[in-house]
């Protein structure tokens, strides 16, 4: 499993640098969590890693490479706060959309092959939705929809997973359950997760960074001890959460 290196990464809208000269290493096979208040540029950074900032109006600087010095294109899976499920497609079709996007052509209407379908159903079973394969997204609850999004991410089977507050819109209990599930299922992936919830970052991250300031800078890594997902009754974890929450509140007040 390769590391990912961000060298001197920066992004500007006109003359306004959202962040500048950022260096960061995401360790292979580990979860790196980026914590930050709203509007600090977390999502922008994640989009840049995903290669989604190819818009005419933004200026970018720096390099983002895998440990093999190759760009990340084609090696990432993306999971956002919205589940982004296609309302016209069944759960199974939503999970296999990547496969269909890559194989369809003008002259040939390719169906998802049997092997891929079997794999999709197996993943659906792992996220606990085996009986929902033929349902439409509108008939699922928020938690179930996000499970489908997780299944779709797993189906892509890419070594790197980028997550943009994937559990942000869920209620507290559902969120904890999904965190545990994601932690279990994405064990062998290199994950970059951004969140504004310190508890989420501390439960799931092998390394936690805090992005703050303008242009935004990264603080030193916090490395919580123990295996993920960390238990909620860990006193040190809770104390750390308190410290981080205070820091975020101070920033918010200053902004």
């Amino acid at each position: 499993m390769f590391d990912i290196h961000l060298h001197g990464v920066g992004l500007a809208y006109g003359d306004h640098w959202v962040f500048k000269q950022l260096d960061l290493t995401l360790k292979g096979g580990q979860w790196t969590c980026l914590l930050g208040g709203s509007g600090v540029g977390k999502t922008t950074l994640l989009r840049m890693v995903a290669g989604l900032t190819g818009n005419g109006r933004v200026r970018t600087a720096g390099r983002i490479l895998g440990g093999d010095d190759q760009p990340l294109h084609g090696r990432i899976a993306w999971m956002a706060q919205q589940d982004s499920l296609l309302p016209w497609a069944t759960v199974l079709d939503n999970i296999t959309i990547g496969e269909r996007l890559r194989t369809i052509s003008i002259f040939r209407r390719t169906r998802v092959n049997q092997q891929a379908l079997v794999r999709a159903r197996a993943i659906l079973e792992r996220v606990g939705l085996a009986d929902k394969a033929d349902s439409l997204p509108q008939h699922l609850s928020g938690g179930q929809r996000q499970r489908v999004a997780l299944a779709r991410t797993l189906f892509e089977d890419r070594p790197v997973v980028l997550m943009d507050e994937p559990f942000g819109a869920l209620d507290a209990i559902t969120r904890l359950n999904l965190q545990d599930l994601a932690c279990e299922l994405l064990q062998d992936k290199t994950v970059l997760l951004i969140t504004h919830d310190p508890l989420e970052a501390l439960r799931l991250g092998h390394e936690v960074y805090h992005l703050r300031g303008q242009p935004a800078l990264l603080t030193d890594a916090i490395v919580p001890s123990g295996t993920t997902p960390r238990a909620l009754n860990d006193g040190r974890l809770m104390a750390l959460q308190g410290v981080l929450l205070d820091r975020l509140r101070c920033e918010e007040a200053a902004a």
């Binding site: 899976a77 982004s84 296609l86 959309i97 369809i104």
Partner: protein
């Protein structure tokens, strides 16, 4: 049941009001005939009306078909050939800036007194709402779907076929509903300017001979065709795009 009952009761209400108006104000039959007289005329001349209805319906449906096809093609070109946009948009507007009524005589001259000129006229009217609505729908595909497709490695054809097209369907459906309502205008105006068959032709002939009940009978049939076509389209679109209602809320 309510969806059927309400339109029907509106129609019956209108008929009653019409009958009452004629009776109370004592309007002569050559100005406004009684609904009863119109219904009797419809029954007596059913064959004649049917013959002309078929002509007008064919014109409308052909115009709709070609208009929708052309409108969707135009929308696709506007979205995918950005460099053509500055040329195509004025063209699109020009087709609407010239009133189709003014074009009718020219179309007769070019395409004759048969069906072709009416089909083209209908097509011209329908093309605009379909093109603009479809273009809007294609343009406003949710960014997060496009982002996702991008990270998955989908090419532009795949993204169009599997995501943008579906995402544009609700908007296209609004365009279609509008198109279906205005389609009769194209056909009937065309028939008024010059034709040998169709409900518009029949109305013109009846009017000249002061057969006002026949004229109203033709008008009623036309109204039924339009309303029927609208509800049929609406029903079809609801069946085809079941997610629409939830997506718009």
């Amino acid at each position: 049941m309510n969806r059927v009952l309400k339109p029907v009761s509106v129609i019956i209400g209108l008929l009653v009001a019409w009958q009452a108006l004629v009776m109370v104000l004592d309007i002569p039959a050559f100005i406004i005939p009684e609904p009863v007289a119109v219904i009797i005329r419809m029954y007596d001349d059913a064959g004649l009306l049917w013959h002309h209805t078929l002509v007008t319906l064919t014109e409308m449906l052909l115009g709709l078909g070609f208009g929708v096809l052309l409108g969707v093609l135009m929308a696709l070109m506007l979205v995918y050939f950005a460099s053509l946009r500055p040329w195509l948009l004025p063209l699109l507007l020009t087709t609407q800036a010239i009133p189709v009524f003014a074009l009718a005589p020219v179309l007769m001259l070019w395409f004759g007194y048969g069906m072709a000129s009416k089909v083209i006229m209908t097509m011209l009217i329908i093309f605009f709402p379909v093109a603009t609505c479809c273009y809007d729908g294609l343009r406003h595909t949710r960014q997060d779907w496009l982002d996702l497709a991008h990270t998955m490695g989908g090419g532009s054809w795949a993204v169009l076929r599997l995501i943008r097209w579906h995402a544009a369907l609700p908007a296209l459906a609004s365009g279609l509903r509008m198109a279906v309502v205005v389609a009769p205008i194209g056909a009937v105006v065309g028939e008024w300017v010059g034709s040998s068959a169709g409900l518009g032709y029949l109305m013109l002939q009846a009017n000249a001979r002061l057969w006002v009940d026949l004229m109203f009978a033709a008008l009623t049939v036309l109204a039924f065709c339009s309303v029927g076509l609208y509800y049929l389209t609406d029903l079809l679109l609801r069946k085809l795009i079941p997610w629409q209602s939830t997506d718009l809320s």
